[in-house]
Amino acid sequence: MTPLFGLLGFIIAASAVAAVALRNLVHCALALSVSFAGLAAIYLFLNAQFVGFAQILVYIGAVAILIVFAILLTGRGELERGAGFSAGWMIGLGVALAVFGTLAGLLLSSHLLVREMPPPAPTSVRDLGDQLMTHWVLPLEVLGLLLTAALIGSVVIVMKERGPR
């Protein structure tokens, strides 16, 4: 398990760094899709097949495409003029490094996480659907309502304004 996991982790981390550090925004979006695909592979690896495929469908199929459309609609000459990094970028880097250092130190020193893993638990999509439609049906409906509201809201936000202004 370890070499494959290490390779996937390296791909995910490298493409995530590329997604936030590259100058060209289109390259950022492409690197982001690679990172999402690596995460989907990790989910398949961890026996969460449905989540892996949902990750591919939602993140690579929808969110990455949305970001590409946003780049298209906001023009691309933006980054070539400025440096691309904000004035206080060193503070930001320091905060991020401090967060990672704290989290990694805590994880490596924790005694609760060293217990051996149980055998793999195969879960079928049927079980998942059963649970979703019985025990979790109210959150599911609320999520549907939220998605509808978000859809209508985003269309309203970007709609051309008419009338006197």
Partner: protein, 109 residues
């Protein structure tokens, strides 16, 4: 000394998740372009999802499916967030002709 005795699989997943979160945080704090800031936020959300899946898989009760269903809801909410966020960025671009967050300071006190 065996390689796997250094970190357990759960620790490896959580370390990867912490790394991904930190990269997303660095991107959100360091860049000027609002779209890249949103990319950083997406990376952080994915790191949280990886945490949930890892704890479900290596937790005491993997048959409960709670972690998987939590992640499915999280993906749905993140999709709504991305749609509204990008719509806001496009609306801001229409009004101000820029997505550079350093220039969006009209509410600065």
């Amino acid at each position: 000394m065996h390689a796997e005795s250094l970190v357990t699989p759960l620790q490896a997943c959580l370390l990867l998740s912490a790394l991904l979160f930190s990269i997303g945080l660095a991107g959100a704090l360091m860049r000027r372009n609002a779209i890249v800031i949103l990319i950083g936020v997406e990376l952080m959300l994915n790191a949280a999802n990886l945490n949930l899946i890892a704890f479900w898989r290596y937790g005491p009760d993997p048959q409960a499916l709670t972690g998987v269903i939590f992640v499915l809801f999280s993906i749905g909410v993140a999709a709504a967030e991305a749609a509204v966020g990008l719509a806001l960025i496009i609306a801001v671009y229409r009004h101000r002709r820029t997505v550079n967050v350093d220039h969006l300071n009209s509410m600065k006190g």
